[in-house]
Each structure stands twice: as structure tokens, then as C-alpha cells.
Subunit: 260 residues, 6 copies
């Protein structure tokens, strides 16, 4: 199984963090293809930044899947907030999921009320959108966040380790969380570092994403995806202009597949 992991941020240091955690989570036979957005921001914390990121991810996915020879079996969008979701599911004939929706699923299986720990106050509005969009806002206990500006996104999990654990404990003790999500690719891997210090399960988005993508791909191996109708099917063919060669190729490939 060959999975494409897209870091929607331009930080290759964060791509490296994602890779390490993804490798820990992946099953033996899983091959991970890492990619970093070709343009955009060091990290995504607003709705505007996610517009840019969604377009950049679309390019990356199209480049890796359009010609049908890359053998990609599934795609994980590895920024909490799931920029471009669920629209990006339309571009490929393989499962495309985000780390937020994956983390919300694994959290919801472990506890009734979920809190999210985030790296900046500004990011919380966009995260709330994401939970509402996925439909699980009724199970959200709280979103708590760091209040100080980050020095370096690649080291935030070390720089603010104590503060993050403290936020986690407040979510449990004050907000009544049964389960936590440490959100954001810059925190990839932190869950396993701090689990002894927290009294409820802690979900890491990257680990959750890899596992759920493997699940979907594994079940699809005998159940090939046939999204010929519904809102994850490819867009109907229509005049277009100015798209990149990769996006054009990916669209055409999907549309032909459905009309065949």
C-alpha cells in the first residue's frame, strides 16, 4: 500500500515531524510518499490561509495521481483544520482524508466529549469551523490554545511542552473532556511523549490519519471505490481555463473513468 502524505504548510521541518509520526503509526507493508505544499505559509491558522493551502494541496495531489502510474492508494492531508475538505475528495479515485476528521473519529470512539489543544488563539476559529463541518460539534467540550506567539513552528512542541500539558489537564478537569486531540502537524508525535501526564486518551492526528487511511484503502482493495454519483464524484465535465496541466489531467482522468 502506497500512501501520499501532503503537508499543506511550506515548512519541510514540519514535513519531517509528520513523517516520523506517520512511520511509527503505519503498518509494516505501508509505503509513505511525503510531499510539501509548493507554496503558501509556514503554518495555517486562518480561513484565508486555508484557501491558499487548499489550492496548493490540489496541485500536489494532482501531480501525484493524475497520470495513473504513481500507484498512490490513498491521500492524507496532514494539517489540522483539513484545508480543502471535503472538496479534495473529488479529485482522486482513491480515498482522500484529512487528519482532523480522522482524529475526530478516533476520539469519538474513545470518549463522549472531546477537547482540542491548539497552538494559537487565532487558529481556534478555523478549527471550530472544521468540527462543525464534519458534524461533531455537539461532542466538542472545548478548544484550548496557547496564548503566546510561537518562536519556531518546528520546535513548538518542545518550547511549549509544559504549557500544552497544562492546557490538556484544564480541558479534562474544567471542561469535562473524556478524550483529547493534540491538534496541528507541528505537534505530531507529542501525544506519545506526554501520555503519562494526562488522565484520558490523547489522539495524534497524524497517527489517526495514517491508520484510518490504511483502513479505507484496505477495505477498498476488495471494494474498489465507485464514486459515480453523490458529492464526492468527479465534477461534471464543463469548459475550463487556466488550470495547471496536472489538475487538468487529474480531472479528465476521473471524468473519463466515470463516463466509461
Amino acid at each position: 500500500m502506497r500512501l501520499l502524505l501532503v503537508n499543506p504548510n511550506i515548512s519541510t521541518a514540519v514535513t519531517a515531524l509528520i513523517r516520523v509520526e506517520a512511520e511509527r503509526a503505519a503498518a509494516p507493508g505501508t509505503e509513505l510518499v511525503m510531499a510539501t505544499a509548493g507554496y503558501g505559509f509556514e503554518y495555517i491558522e486562518t480561513r484565508l490561509e486555508s484557501i491558499v493551502a487548499a489550492a496548493a494541496i490540489l496541485e500536489v495531489i494532482a501531480e501525484h495521481t493524475a497520470d495513473g502510474t504513481s500507484g498512490i492508494d490513498g491521500v492524507l492531508v496532514a494539517a489540522f483544520g483539513d484545508p480543502g475538505m471535503p472538496g479534495l475528495k473529488e479529485i482522486a479515485d482513491v480515498p482522500v482524508i484529512g487528519v482532523s476528521e480522522a482524529a475526530l473519529c478516533l476520539a469519538a470512539l474513545q470518549g463522549q466529549r472531546i477537547s482540542i489543544i491548539a497552538i494559537s488563539e487565532r487558529i481556534t476559529g478555523w478549527y471550530r469551523d472544521c468540527v462543525e463541518r464534519f458534524g461533531l460539534a455537539g461532542r466538542l467540550a472545548s478548544i484550548r490554545s496557547l496564548g503566546t506567539p510561537l518562536r519556531d513552528v518546528a520546535s513548538v512542541q518542545h518550547d511549549f511542552r509544559a504549557a500544552l500539558v497544562n492546557l490538556a489537564r484544564e480541558a479534562v478537569q474544567v471542561d469535562g473532556a473524556d478524550v483529547l486531540i493534540l491538534a496541528g502537524a507541528p505537534l505530531a508525535g507529542l501525544a506519545r511523549e506526554v501520555l503519562d501526564e494526562i488522565d484520558v486518551p490523547v489522539v495524534d492526528g497524524v497517527g489517526a490519519g495514517v491508520r484510518l487511511l490504511e483502513s479505507l484503502v484496505g477495505l477498498s482493495a476488495t471494494n474498489p471505490r465507485r464514486q459515480r454519483r453523490g458529492t464526492s464524484a468527479p465534477p461534471p465535465t464543463k469548459p475550463r481555463h487556466g488550470l495547471s496541466a496536472a489538475v487538468t489531467a487529474a480531472l479528465v482522468a476521473r471524468q473519463e473513468e466515470v463516463s466509461s
Copy 2:
């Protein structure tokens, strides 16, 4: 007052339809600047297409507002479904609104339950997202749509006039709608054509958008917009790469303004 109207589709014929209806709705002193997306699709009916459109609109807005000399007082995104909203509100120091949110507001002031008449079945999923995102899903009576492929998006309101009126009547009589929205820029202006044939008020998104944008700008003339906090404020400054000159300039301008 100078308003920028962005057609997120690449069809200049649709831009012309939007202009005609916008001119009818605009107040005497309002100047309309029309713009068409530089790339994308003939019309937007899926979430994936709206990702492309959002990025294209961002470019158009940035080009028209970044240098601060264009004198744009407000921006209307003129595709039902409001691609890029509410994220696009972060890019400019003037109000940026979409035709869907404007139409929903004027509909909600006229009747308790709202139906939307749409030009394709596929588009309805994305429209539903839009209503849910804006928070008025509890007032949605139904979304009804044409079931046949369009020949030409620029003439859809004439080609399918009878079918659209029929959908409107079913929404009133079967679904219990108190007010209707004829949705989508290709239907701009149709509301005034068919109003004698329908027993409830009919809202045109372009007209609603122009009027509400004028309202916001007019009230802001004495109440300059000060989005220094909250999720419509400009994104915090951070490393970025590969953005267009216009988007970069627009971001920098907004960030400097807030930090000043």
C-alpha cells in the same frame, strides 16, 4: 462608492448578466467595477471547483485592493455558494461579502422558511454546505434543482424558464416555502421576469448582494472597519513562499495597518 464585483466563473457572458442586474439594483452614486476570474470553470457546481474558484477570487481581490489606490470600497463575490467565504473577508480592509449570504439575509427578513432554486442537481450539495456554514439551515425549506444538463450557462434562464418557475411553485406549494431564492449568477435578473407568476417574494442574489454591500459600506463611511481582532482580521504575519505579488502585497498592507 466604488464596488468590485467578482465573477468567480470564467464566463464573460455571465459577467455581463451580473453587471446588468447589479446596475439595476445599485444606488445612483454607486460605481461598479466588474472582474472575471482569471482561471477556473465555466460555472461552479462542486466543492472541488469552489477550491479553484476561491484561489482565483483571492487573486482578483488582491489585484484590485493591494496597492490602496484603486479606491474600492467593498467587494461582492458573485457566485451562489460563496466560494472562499468567509475566509476572503480577511484579505481586504473593506467589506467582502457573497451573494448567497446576502440573499439568505434578505430572504430571512421576508419569510420564515426559505427555498432555493438551483440549476443542477450536483450543485445542491455545495449549496447546502453554504447555508449550513452561514448558520441558517434551520430555516431552509428545500433546495430544488433542474434535472437536465445545461446547454449554455449564459442562456439557462431563458432555456429553462418554464421549468424554473415550476420548481419555484413546487417549493411554495409542496415544501412550504415563504420566500424563494433563484440561485446562481446565471439566473441573475430572472427574479424580476417571473415575479408575477409566483405567490411569494423572490430574491435575486446579485441584487441582494449589491444592496447589502452598499449598506455595509455606507454605514462604514462613518464607522471605519476596524477588524483588528477576531477571525476576520488579517492573518498574523509569518513566513510565506510562492504567493503572487498581488496577494503578498495585499497581505502585507493589511498586516501593517493592524500593527500600526
Copy 3:
């Protein structure tokens, strides 16, 4: 264009506050007809008081519109909480809107989460009803209110200026509001006084109401309101007794118009 502004309170001092702000917001050609409730309370802060106010507003609207010669093009009910809404929309053949629904619309176009600043603790329960009734409760960040009894409703915006600004700041900083509404006719005009002190847009209900009413009337000029079905249509004809001459005349006029 001739708009009727009804102050549902009996305080003519508040009517004067409303007039001043309405004149600032109105377009050049708009004529404002001011009216004050013939009976009731100095200000409305409970559901019971709003029952009395709704009946009093009904009389005022009927008196001004029943004979069809007054030339009223639209009606604005100028007490936050929108007493009598949406029922009052049934009484006239012109748009009838409330300042709360107007303010919620303009707020919702400017930010995702909305806070309301109110003049008494007791009033907040009724305001919450109003937001829920309009369907935007999912976007409410908070309702914050003064905690001390008012000396004089006509001077509350000056007596408590500092406290109100402080509540506004707490709504932004603690509750995460992206946009604020200064609620209640006694606060009409305060928004423009304090905008320099608050980091997000501030909506004034009276200004919003005048602008949105102008929008509806303006669009209706070419799109005459035809509420022949749905729940804003006039009530079906049936035996009645003891209504005032004005209300009877208004009802009869609307019913004849629909059956014609």
C-alpha cells in the same frame, strides 16, 4: 421612499434618539415617519412587556397603512428583541422588519461569531429568544449586559459609556466575538461614538434596520411584494370581534388584495 419607524416604547426621548441615528443612516431620498407606541412601557426587557408592545405596534402600523393613502413603503420596528416579529409581517403589503433581525444580518456578514451588548441582565433572556427565533443562535458568542439598574433610559448610553465599552471588549477578548451589536434603541448612535475603542466592527440596530429596509423596498420597487401564500401572507378571512378600526381596516385591505 417613505419609511415608518415605530418605537415600541412609550419614551419620546428614545424616539428622538432613534430619529437621529436613522437620519444619519438613511439615503438622500428617504423620508422617515416617526411613531411612538400609544401605550406600554418605558423600555421593553421581558417577554410579557413584548406582548403589550406587539399589540401596540400593530395599532401603529395599521393606523399608518390601513387606508392605503399614507404612501408608507416599509416599516421598521425599532426595539431590539423585535416584539411581534415575524407576525407583524402579515399586516402590511410592504416590508416590515425589526432592528434585531437587521442587525444580526449585517453582523453575520462581517464576522463568524456575534456578541450582543445589552442594557440589563433581565433583557438577555428575551434577546436570546429573538436570536433563536431568527435561526442564528449557532453564531452567537455571548450576550453581555450591564448589571446595575438604569437611572434614565434616555441617557443610559452616556451614563454607562465606559461600562458598555468594557463589556464590548470582554466579548471580543473573552468570548471570541468577531463582531458586536450594541442592542436596544436607547443605545442608538453609540456605535459610532465608541468605534475607535473597540477592535472589531460594531453594528447599530437602527442604522442596520434603515439600510436593510431601504434595500428591500428598493428591490421591491421593480419586484412588488406578492405574499399571496406562505406564512407572511395575510391571515385568512374569518369572524373577528373587538379589533380597532385601524387593525380591521388593515386586515380587510390585505385580504381583499390577495383574493383579487
Copy 4:
């Protein structure tokens, strides 16, 4: 125990229907005081009509409770849709409830999903408001209604008996209702006539209202109502003008009681 039953309609024939069913439902020691609205409509089917009715009910309750000598222990507002609720709870020092909220409670105790059978299509919008206001919209299976104009509101339950039973069966078989409410004072008593023909429990609003009011009064006999805070407490004292002597007296009495 002495209960005031207010018919918000002006039809004394409907008052008589209410009385008959109320007497069947009441406990041995309960004395029923019947009152009919002094002005208004033959029956209430729109939001506008309910504004008039709410004010008329307020007068009736005030007349019967203001001087404190009438010995009224509780008040039942006997029109489905509960005009004036929950505001009317503020006017008296005894429980004031509506037949809709009572019927919804007894229905919710008997089945998970509830359908309402109504006497006119127009009335259904207002009924839906009522269910939403009470907070049980999530348990509503459907509202089904007669489609033909009524000849005589006092005989509607006989004139349309077969059609009403048919609507009830469709609600069960098509909409999945576990329990039904036959709604509207004109249908008072019909439930016991038709129960053999319907496969789920059927709730009569008048019977439910009398029983739940007896329950509240009975429990309050040892637990005197002390609504000194919260939104059912009397409105704070403030200048007022033009209210009837009865309403003024009732307000003053409640306000003095709380401040004592």
C-alpha cells in the same frame, strides 16, 4: 383547587367544547372557571392573530388574578400554539401554562416521535414555531393538516372526522409517529372518540393541560411558587402608560410581592 381556563378565541361554542373535555379530565376537587377572550378571532391560525390573542389573554388573566381575591390557583391557555407563551407566565403568581406545551410533554412521555394533526394548512407554520420554541422540534415527526376550508369551527371535529382519522393514520404509517396530538381547541374531546381507530396513543391538549396544571398546583401547594429571579419573574418596575386597570393592578401586585 380553582383553575382558570382561557379560550383565546372569541367563539363561545369552542369555549363550551373546552369545558366539556376539561371537566372529563379534571380531578374531583378541581373547580374550573371558564373565560373567553374579549376580542379577537374565531380561531387563531397565524402569528399575527396570536399577537392579538396574547394581548386579549393577558387582559383575561389580569382581570381574574389582579386583586388577589379570586382564589385562582392556576391558569390554562387553551389554544394550541400557546399564544403569549412563555411571556404570560410573568403576569401571575400561580402557574400559567398552555395546552401545546402540556400536550407535548404527555406525548413525549409516551413515544419518541410525535406528530400533530391540525385543522388548516396555514396553522402549521405557527404550530412549528411553537414546538421549536418549547425545544422539542427534534422529536417532531410531522405536522399534517386538513386542506379544505372549515365551514364552522365548532363542528369541525364532526364535519371532518374521517379526514382527521386518515391524517392520523398517515402520520403513523408514513411519518413514523409513535404518538399523536390532535391539536386545537376545536378538536377538544375528539381523541377519546377516535382512539379505537388509531394504533398509537392520542393526546388531547385540553385534557393534558388540565392534568399538568393540577400537577403543578398540587406540588406548589406545599412548594409555593417563588419566581423572584429568572425570566418568569415579574418585569422590573418601570414607567408605563395606557395599560388597562387590570393589567396595571396585576403587575403592581406581582412587583410588590417580589420586592417584599
Copy 5:
């Protein structure tokens, strides 16, 4: 009228508390049959404990109703949280209700926003489930609870009287509750003790439950329950194994009754 009151806890001391309050609330002609769960926990505060309790209550109800000779007219499940509801409604041909749903109904008739005062922090998650399941979560102001372990469940209302009153006051003053529920059978009767100290109505679940059950039974005396369809009807006949004789007999009796 003969009512079965089931204490789902194994504590006979709590059964005695329930009996005392039930006798105070019951109408003169009502006979109370008390029963205590045959196995389980001293009190129920988690979802897991409620699984055990639901099965134990099922046995008790079946034992008392299966042979049709006991003359039980209705059943009250007397643990807040309503273990086994609404499933237990399927087992008997008489009304089966819980104290939580009854208390929520009587609270909802007295005030718009409801707070629940609970005896342990852990119990609050299960109580929240219960309110959501009944459909009134939109009216919940808060659930406040004691934070210290209980010494003796039978004396908790005396041991913690002051703390409970304090929680009640905070719910009113901080959370904006219009009405309170003192939750849990161990608090049965406390409401009447403390009512002078609290400014809003206080609902006792046992009293509410007895009264509402009497109401349902009383109305059913002329309106025999006919749950032949819908989700409170008996389960369809199918192979079963290992059920107790009482549960088997109760099921068979109900199924025969429906098929007859």
C-alpha cells in the same frame, strides 16, 4: 389507581426516601407499590451502572405486570437519568415513565432555562445524555454537582444541605436558570425543605413523576393505551433464549395483546 415505583438502586434506605416523597405527592386514591432493584449498585452514576440497572428494572416491571393480575396501572422508574428509557416503555401495557423526563417536563412548564443539581461530578455526563435523549438539551442552563465523595447516599441531602443550596443559587445567579431540578432519588424530598432559600421554582423528580404518571393513567382510563405500532409497541415476536420467566411472560402477554 395502583402505581409501581421502582428504585433502580439496591439501597432500601433510598427506597424509603422515595416512598415518603411519593406519598406526599400522590392523589388521595392512588396506591403506591414500592420495589427495589434485585441487584446492582447503591446508586447509579455512570452509563455502565445504568446498563445493569436497566436490566434489573426490566425484571422488576415484568414480575409485577406479566401475569396481568397485579392491577398495576402505571410504572415510575425512580432514578434520575432514567436508566432503560425509553426502551422500558415497550414491556408493559401501561404507561412507564422516568423521574427525569417527568421533572424536565414540569421544569419546562415553569421556566425557559433549566439547571440540574447533582450529587456527584461523575454523574453529570450521564445526566447530560439523558437530557439530550429526551430532546430538551437546548433548554439546559447547566448541570452543577457536589465535588466531594458521599459518605452515605441515604443521608446525602442532610450531610450536604448547605452545599446543595449553594449550587442551586449559583445556577440561578451565574448560569441564568429560571427553574431548578434537584436530581437523584437520594435527594427526594429536599426540594420542599429548601424552597424558602431559593429564588426560583424547584422541581423534585419523585413528585413530578408521581403526578405525571397519575395524569397519564387518569387520561388513559377513558383512553386505553393502544401502542400497536410505533417504537413503544412490543417487540415483534422472534426466537429468544435465556430470559427470565417473568420477562418472557411479559413479552408474550404484550405480543399476544397486539396480535389479537
Copy 6:
């Protein structure tokens, strides 16, 4: 990895169906331990039946995990509707999940709106409860069900194959489903049989359950579950009576573990 799969029905033929599909879905290193409820019903279609099933599952889980020597790493409750969830999560120190919650997660990752295909009309009410309890009711397009009584639960997927495919197609074409769940253990394995005949992805609960349980266990291998607080932690220690030896042992084991 050793997983316990509990069939909450008493049908060993259904247990065999579950095993076959589970083996197809499981990863190479996964060992499956099958168990069938010791008592109960041939299949579960009502809330009452699920009370019995929940208690029976509790026994099975306790028997397999109480002594800590069985090496069970996770538990899957294999009846759609998830009887006993989420309460059963409290009984074991390993993940305990249900096939419904697992299927809802994998469906929600593949499409925005979900339909469920069920084997009986009666079962749909209970399934709806389950979706609402999990919090994803906002994404439910429909629940469609067979309307004829089953001959044999073990052969229902063959007996009604054509009817089930037809229901699936209607869910897509009429209800707008983007993804389907074939619900109920008796349909285990049908998804892979019919996928060529349906235009959207089809989720099998057993396959989804095995994969998600493997995911949770796999991630927990380095992230041992520490549910010491929150509502999935073991119930606080308190007097108990009459529980089976296995349940007692399981409770004691968990409580000791937390207090250690």
C-alpha cells in the same frame, strides 16, 4: 493482536457470518476471538431488546477480560445500533467499540451525507437513536428498510438481495446519499457482493469495526489507554449486590488499576 468480537444476538449462524467478514477485513497478525451472547434474542430491533443485549454483552466482555490473563487487546460489539454503547467502554482497560460507530466514521470520511439500509422497519427507530447518540444525525440522509418480515435472519442477505440493492439505489438517487451503510450483522459481507451494482461507496459495519479497532489498539500499543478520568473511566467504587462473578471481577480490576 487479539480482538474479542461479541455477537449480541443469540444466533450462532450470525456469529459465523460476522467471523467470515471479520477475517476478510483483519490484518495478518490479528487473532479473532468470537463470542455469542449467552441469552437474548435472535436479532435486536427494538430499544427493549437492546437493554437485554447490553447486559448480555457486559457478561461476555467481563468473562473475557476480568482476570487479565486472556490477552484481549480490544472488543468489538457486532450488532448495528451498538447496544450498551458508550457505557460498555467503562468495563475494560482496552478499547471497546461498536460496529455502528465504526461504520459511521468510515462513511463520514467518504461522503457528506450517509444513508443506512436496514432489515426491518421497526429497527429504524433504534438506529436513528444510535446515530443521534453518536452525534452525526446532521449527516444522515435517510434510513431505508425492508418492509416484509424476515424468514430467517441468517439468510436475509440472500433472500432479499434484490430488494436491498433497490433500497440502496433509492437512497442514492432519491435521498441524495453520498455513501451507504448496509446495517446489521445479518448483512455482514453483503457490501462486497453488491458493490458493482451501486454508484457510491458501501460500508460494512463488521469490516469497519475490525479495522478501527485494530487502529485504536495499534496506536495504543505505544499509547497505553489511561482512562483515569472522564466518563469512560471505570465507575467509582461503591456498594454493589447480585452482580455476576465476572462483572464483579472486571469492575474491581479496573477500579484497582485506576486507584493504583
